[in-house]
Amino acid sequence: MQSFFRFLYELIGTPQPPADTPVYRQIVFPNIGLLNLGISLALVLIFYYVINKAMGVATFNKLRHWTLFLVLNALIAFIVVVWQAKAQQVTDHSYIYWLATLNAVYGLLFYFLFSVILRKGSTNASTTPF
């Protein structure tokens, strides 16, 4: 698990400053990775199964609605990193924002993948985004 997230997040280089490397690898990366997966999945479920199935809302199934959730997910992914960095008391460094940006990109990716997998089960949005 740790090595998977380490691979994922060290694509943009090793943590900075280097002294915080153990904290990033063993705490921050797994935390933000798991939260990102969990929140992406939750938003996909809310979009396809709560709004567009259980609640039966018929007017929230367009591409722009799906995109709204996509962007929301990316924003949350960004904020989660900044919050985790504060919570784990790592040294302030521009690296935190690079990591947050990377996490937002992964948020987009996860949201898209979950959408592709789960959209078929939705009543009103089974063809969103395509």
Partner: protein, 458 residues
């Protein structure tokens, strides 16, 4: 059967519920550590309760940290010491020796670190004195000076008759040892070695404190080539010494309790010290791509110490610099002295060019810091530009090197002491004699060593 929308969502919600608690947080780690600690103490208490009564516990610890059983203070009162303790005249002037030794005797007498204090004058043999009698001798001068006392004979007596576990002997003297004739000078070292070795004490340790004082009286040089005595001496200061002799552990504790703030110079022989608390500091003057290599470094537990450097990138252009913090408070002031440390701290490693680039003491800034550097009194900065392909040991060692002052305070001929200055005849030979007994010359143990590991980052 019609399933409710909720039951269809259930698997997804479950998945989220499973993922979220998987997140690590420092609070979890902290409370985990707290729980295990609490559990340990409960276990420990449960294990101890039937075995030992509450009173039995402190007595076990006092053996190692409690007061010393006894100290014997010996003051040499031969004629050569008269100049340090001149009889008080109308001018009521006293020497620095009088001020210092009177204060020292008072400190010993008052100290709670030693249970029993006995005081002796040394003439041809030790004579028991009360504290008041000896203090009076120091302040008002020697009444009946002994003709001469031989240093080896005194040392022999101290190690043969006054040597006990958990007790020390303190000898205050000018340590001017005049061999019978010039031909015996080369044997000074041997005489001292034989005297200290007479009783075959295996854990013998000696701490030597060197002081200088003004001197008002007749000076008896060891080399009598010019004159047997120099009357109305001296224009120069004359050195005198406080030797603490006893088992290594007792000497260490006596030094720490009573001679911690001793002015003047010092040297220690055969005294063993426990390794000082130390840790690498990853956010204090660090440079380059390295981090703590310990597996649990991310926990950042309170009070944790680190000794592994994991280097992810190093080259001549991108050197790695790290600082080792050490708390040397428990060591004698000699080993806290930056000059001594700079000269004698060594770094040994394999496949690396790691070297010490700076040794510095705590400043107000480091002491006031909220970081771990606040706990340390001394810092060693190490620079690396190349290293091995695998983990290699790296050691910071304080070698047991004799301090410079011993050579500087030594003279081969004291017959003209006013020109020679504040030096003692054959001091380094006396010290050679001490060192031969207390240290294994084949295999010299360092004062302390801090083992580190230098490894490539994984």
């Amino acid at each position: 059967m019609q399933r409710s929308p909720f039951s269809q969502l259930l698997p997804g919600l479950l998945a989220v519920a499973l993922l979220l608690p998987g997140c690590y947080s420092r609070d979890d780690l902290k409370s985990d550590a707290g729980n295990t600690k609490a559990a340990e103490t409960i276990e420990a208490a449960a294990g101890k309760a039937p075995a030992a009564s509450p009173e039995a516990e402190p007595s076990a610890t006092t053996a190692a940290t409690g007061p010393l059983k006894q100290v014997n203070v010996f003051l040499e009162v031969s004629g050569s010491m008269e100049g340090f303790m001149p009889k008080t005249g109308a001018d009521a002037q006293n020497t620095r020796f009088q001020q210092h030794v009177a204060q020292f005797l008072s400190d010993v007498n008052r100290s709670a670190s030693v249970q029993r204090k006995t005081f002796y004058r040394i003439k041809d043999k030790p004579y028991r004195d009360s504290y008041q009698q000896l203090e009076t001798t120091v302040r008002e001068g020697i009444r009946e000076p002994a003709s001469s006392t031989s240093i080896p004979a005194i040392l022999d007596t101290l190690v043969s008759h006054y040597y006990q576990p958990n007790a020390v002997s303190v000898l205050i003297s000018d340590f001017i040892y005049a061999p019978r004739n010039a031909g015996a000078v080369p044997y000074i070292k041997t005489d001292i070695t034989d005297a200290l070795n007479a009783a075959g004490r295996s854990d013998l340790a000696v701490s030597v404190y060197g002081h200088t004082s003004d001197f008002k009286g007749a000076f008896y040089p060891a080399m009598k080539t010019a004159a047997k005595r120099i009357n109305r001496c001296c224009d120069t200061d004359i050195p005198y010494y406080v030797w603490v002799i006893g088992p290594a552990d007792a000497v260490r504790r006596f030094d720490a309790a009573l001679l911690k703030k001793a002015p003047g110079e010092q040297a220690h022989f055969g005294v063993k010290y426990s390794a000082p608390p130390s840790s690498l500091l990853n956010k204090f003057q660090n440079q380059g791509a390295w981090y703590y290599g310990e597996k649990d470094a991310s926990k950042r537990a309170a009070g944790a110490t680190y000794h592994t450097v994991a280097v992810s990138e190093v080259s001549a252009q991108q050197p790695v610099e790290f600082v080792l913090g050490m708390n040397l408070q428990a060591l004698p002031t000699l080993y806290q002295d930056l000059g001594h440390l700079k000269a004698n701290l060594q770094l040994t490693g394999q496949d690396t060019d790691a070297k010490i680039v700076n040794v510095f003491g705590a400043t107000d800034q480091t002491r006031a810091s909220s970081g771990p550097e606040a706990q340390y009194t001394h810092f060693v900065k190490i620079r690396v530009t190349k290293m091995g392909k695998a983990a290699r040991p790296l050691q910071v060692i304080l070698q047991d090197k004799r301090p410079m002052w011993i050579t500087q305070w030594t003279t081969k001929n004291d017959s003209n002491i006013n020109q020679v200055g504040a030096k003692t005849f054959a001091l380094s030979s006396l010290i050679d004699g001490v060192a031969a007994v207390t240290t294994d010359e084949q295999n010299q143990a360092p004062i302390f060593q801090v083992p580190l590991t230098l490894q490539p980052a994984d």
